[in-house]
Each structure stands twice: as C-alpha cells, then as structure tokens.
Assembly symmetry: C2
Homo-oligomer: 338 residues x 2
Amino acid sequence: MPAIKDVARRAGVSVATVSRVLNDHPSVRAGTRERVLTAVADLGYRPNAVARSLRTAQTRTLGLVISDVLNPFFTELARSVEDAARALGYSVVIGNADERPDLQDHHVRTLMDRRIDGLLISPTDGGSPMMSAAARAGTPMVFVDRWIEGEGLDRVPVVRTDGRTAIRDLVAHLCALGHRRLAIIAGPAATTTGRERVDAFRAALRAFGLALSDDHIGQGDFQAGSGRRVTARFLDLPHPPDVVFATDNLMALGAMDEIRARGLRVPGDVALAAFDDIPWFLHTDPPITAIAQPTGALGHAAVRALIDLVEGRPAESVTLSARLVARRSCGEPEGSTP
Amino acid sequence: MPAIKDVARRAGVSVATVSRVLNDHPSVRAGTRERVLTAVADLGYRPNAVARSLRTAQTRTLGLVISDVLNPFFTELARSVEDAARALGYSVVIGNADERPDLQDHHVRTLMDRRIDGLLISPTDGGSPMMSAAARAGTPMVFVDRWIEGEGLDRVPVVRTDGRTAIRDLVAHLCALGHRRLAIIAGPAATTTGRERVDAFRAALRAFGLALSDDHIGQGDFQAGSGRRVTARFLDLPHPPDVVFATDNLMALGAMDEIRARGLRVPGDVALAAFDDIPWFLHTDPPITAIAQPTGALGHAAVRALIDLVEGRPAESVTLSARLVARRSCGEPEGSTP
DNA sequence: CTGAAAGCGCTTACAG
DNA sequence: CTGAAAGCGCTTACAG
C-alpha cells in the first residue's frame, strides 16, 4: 500500500503538504492541492489510520463492551450505538462479555491497549479491576443499561432505562386478570438491572397488597438455561406461582422451554411476562406480554454522552422509560391491542 | 498512561531491553527481566498496541463485515468468529452492512484504513469496488456464508453451508404432507445464497414432478419487511400457494406477520418453512419447520482459513451441510420430534 | 504558501 | 546479554 511519501513524490511536494491537503488545512494553494489530490487518486492512497492515531493520540474509535451479543436487546443496542457513532465520525469496536467477568475484563484491557477514545460499558458483574484502571487512567467512560459501583466509577454517567413504572403497570395488569401468586426470575444480583427489577416488582406487589415470598424469587443469570432451571423449580413447588415474570427475554425463552416440556399451557396453567420486547414475542403461542425499552434512543443517548466526554464537554446521566406491551400470555387483556 | 521509556527509566535499563522482556526474547538475564517486570507491574504499564502495530505492520486484528447484525444467524456467526479468533490470539472488529452495499463499502474501507490483518466478509451485493481494491492490495480475505464474483475475487476462499440436500429433504417432507403449490421468498439475486436456495428449491420441485411458476417466486431482501410484502402478494393470488418457504428467518418473521394480520392459520391455510433455525421457532404458533446451519462450525472454519492466509499458509474453501428440522408449521410430521 | 525536522511509542538489526 | 540508533507513517509547530 502506498504511503504518504509516495504521494508526495508523485505530486512533487513534501509530505507536509500532502498531509495538509488530506486534513483540509486552509493554507494550501489551489494548484498544489489539485496535484496532490490527483496523486492520491492515481495511487489509490489511503492514510494509515494506525500512524495517524499514534501521532495524534486519538483513534476516533469507541469501545463497546456488552454483556451478551446473542441477547437481541444487546444486539439492537449495539446496532444503534454503531449508527450514532458513525454519524458523528467514530467507529465502534464491540467486545462481547458473554456475562463473564473475565471476558469482560479481557475486552476492556484489549480496548484500552488499542487506545480507544472512549468506553461504553454495559457491565456484567461487580468488581472489575480493569474498569477501575480505565477510569483511573482518565479514559472517558459511560455506562449503558447497567452500571456498577467501584473505585473511580462513581463519576461515570449512566444512560439507562427505568422500568419501575412499567413494572408497576405490569403488576396492575396481572392483578386485574386475577393473578395473586406472582414469581420472578431475577438477573444476577451483582447487576443493577438485576436488582432493580426485583425491587420494583416487590414494591409494586406491596402496593397491591401482595407479598413476594422467597421461593418465588429465582436466581437467574440473564441466560436461557437459568430461566429454564428456575421455572422448573417454581413448577415443582407445592403451590406453584400462577405467573412467572422473566427479567429478560432469554430467560423468558428458557421458561417457555420448561413450560412446554411439561405440557403445560400459557396462560391457563401458568402466565408468563418478560422484560425486553422482541419481534418474535408477537408470534409465540400465545403472544408474550413484555416490557419494551426504547433501545434505539438508549444507544444514541449513550453515544452522545460519551462523545461529549471524549471531546471535552461535560456529560450527564440519562434515564429513559420503558413501557408495558400487554399481549395474551397473562390472560386475555381487556380490549388492549395484541 | 506510562510509555515504555517510563518503564525503562524505573528499571534502570534501555527501552530495547524492556521491549525484549515484553516480547519474551530469550536473551535477557533473569535478574534484568525481574526488574523490568517489577517496573511494569508498579506502573501498571500496558504496551501501546497502536505503536506496536505501526512498527510491526500487523494489528493482530481481523475485520468481519456481515450483512445484518440484527439477523440472529449473523449474530451467532459473529460470536463464533470472535470466539475462534480470540482463541488464536486475534481480535475482531465487526462492521454491519445492514444489507446496504454503500455501508458495506464504508466498513471495508474503514477496516483497511485500520490495517486489519485479514478480512472476513459475508458480502451483501454484487460489485463492490472496495472489496476488489482490498483483494488487489493483497489483503488476506475469506468469504463466509455468501460470496460474490469480481475482479481479483476469484481466488478468495469461501466457507459456506450447502443447503441443497436439506432443501430437497424439505421438499420431500412437503410433498409427503400433500402440498403441491409451493412458493418461495427469495433473497437478493445478487447474493449467492439468494440464488442458490431458489435454484435448489426449483431443482427439488422438478425432481418431484412439480413446477415453480414465476408468481410463486417472490423477490425479498432478507429483511422482515420484504417477507411480509411478498407473502401478501402470494396470498392475494387467485390460487395462493399452500406453502411458503422463506429463505431466511427474518423474512419468515415478516411472513408470519402477514399471515397473522389476515387471521389465517398455519399450516391449515398456508404452511410455512424457513431457512436458518433460531431458538424461538420452537415456541411460535405452530413451531416452525426450518433448515439449520452449523453456524458455530462455519465461524470457526472461516477464522481458521483466514488466519492461515494471514500467517502465510495456503487456505482452502470449506463447505458444510445444513439439515432439515421438521416441526409442525407444514403439517403434522410423521413421528419426527417437534 | 511550503518544507525540514521533530516526535508519537514501539521493535529490531547492528555493535559491542 | 545489553544499548544506541533507525525507522514504521503520520502531523504539526517552526522557519522562511
């Protein structure tokens, strides 16, 4: 591949001049600029981004570490992040943590080694030494969807969805349909969304005069397998719950697997609801009631906040709202659209 | 962030020695190595990958350009690619083309600018100038899933799945269930998988003495919207088909949307089958008959081939086989598992 | 308006 | 076994 000096030679100028043309520096005579541009085109020259990054100490690249690419929610988030970043002239490099703290650390480290300009993280777990190190090193960082506490992490803006109202709406919906024994498949306690959704659920139940007994809280890990295991435990109870609320769509998938394997019916034998909405929920048997996040807006807001930080402007935390989409998996909704 | 000279100063050696320790060069005295390692740990030093890449002319990074991240097939492919690459000491940077040739070119260009060591592409369309340029520049390249023809592209190894046998199995299955009017939602003609699946379908029909009339071939683009539009056209026909075969899972989603919107039943009013299997197909109403690709193996084989090329070894094309997973969306399968 | 020169942070022959 | 020096491909003050 041709380098800048090849262009300079062909255009009969110095590399400094070529660089100026490439960077739209105003002080280049029109004729010179022409010759340089022709040489660039003739050679098919493209500046080496590696060299440029080394020299300018910026990579125009954002790192995005997500907990699980196979989770449609995160896939969509990643996509909207990439869209927003590209519109602002940045690339994004994705690291998939697979809900594993060690993999998460691996990606944060790798991204830091590549000197990305900023880090967008949906953290998978508590103590992450690399994340604290990144914060300490002054790397611009923004949490998206989830956040964790840790040394140096308290100043990191959080761009997230608040599901409390939607969860209360869900509980109201369930009560209206006559359900009283509600159970929840929680996400990892180390995760804010994991805790928050359980807290909101418990609070909503209390508001409706219901209790959340310990055997109706199942510990999941946001993966399908755990949803299935927890559901099995629920259904083995002497008094099984009459509705299971999975706090993410993958665990809802696992719950469906288990319910189906037992030949039970939704919502007749047990009702089902999920946090996070996905297109297929419309076509399951029955269509699944879910809480939808404004994923696109979330990704855009997170990128905006991060780039503000990267470019030296202050950034603030952002909280968006989720909303209930009632379908038929909890019983026939009263006249609402499917 | 500390640089190599800071480590050298603290350890009382030259930067050359620090570099040797970092790269496991054998000729460093044990005591010196100790001191360097201590300095590295004390400072929390991490080599700047940008500088290293500039100097060594390799980035230990692979570029992966996929047609659509939101398609679960590609998400899974991306994940297996990342897994395989990481195991071999490479990172991967993903570019999502969204089935848009311009975006595809944008990503190929960006990746080339970053001097990735090799390119894994699932091309979205015909003529891509950047891809030819990359090939001409001698960048190691491998096509995965799909491939295109073009200048300099004929030597690029292809790692893909052959669906012909599975499609024939599907047609046999459909015939056995009494279906005779079969229709197909094709992918973009510019795409090899798009053409191939139609060809295989037509050939299989012929083998069973059936014809594929033109109004039973709908042109889709591998996105849900097109699946819906094409299905609408099929259902508006004076003699609608009795089975619709969507050549990817997103178009199957669109087909479901349309069928459902019309209040029709699967498979009673119209049967449905899809290329590419996804977990939710088990829980739709009814569960959807699909052709499953060995996605994990595909990703691994593609990475292996690409890294062979990158490291100067020859690489060969690989073809894996898909298999039919019969469920209930085409009628009650004869004793096969759901 | 343009060029010569320094320097970003590394690695690696070349000496010793 | 270790160091001084060159150089990867850029950008950017500094001169002129």
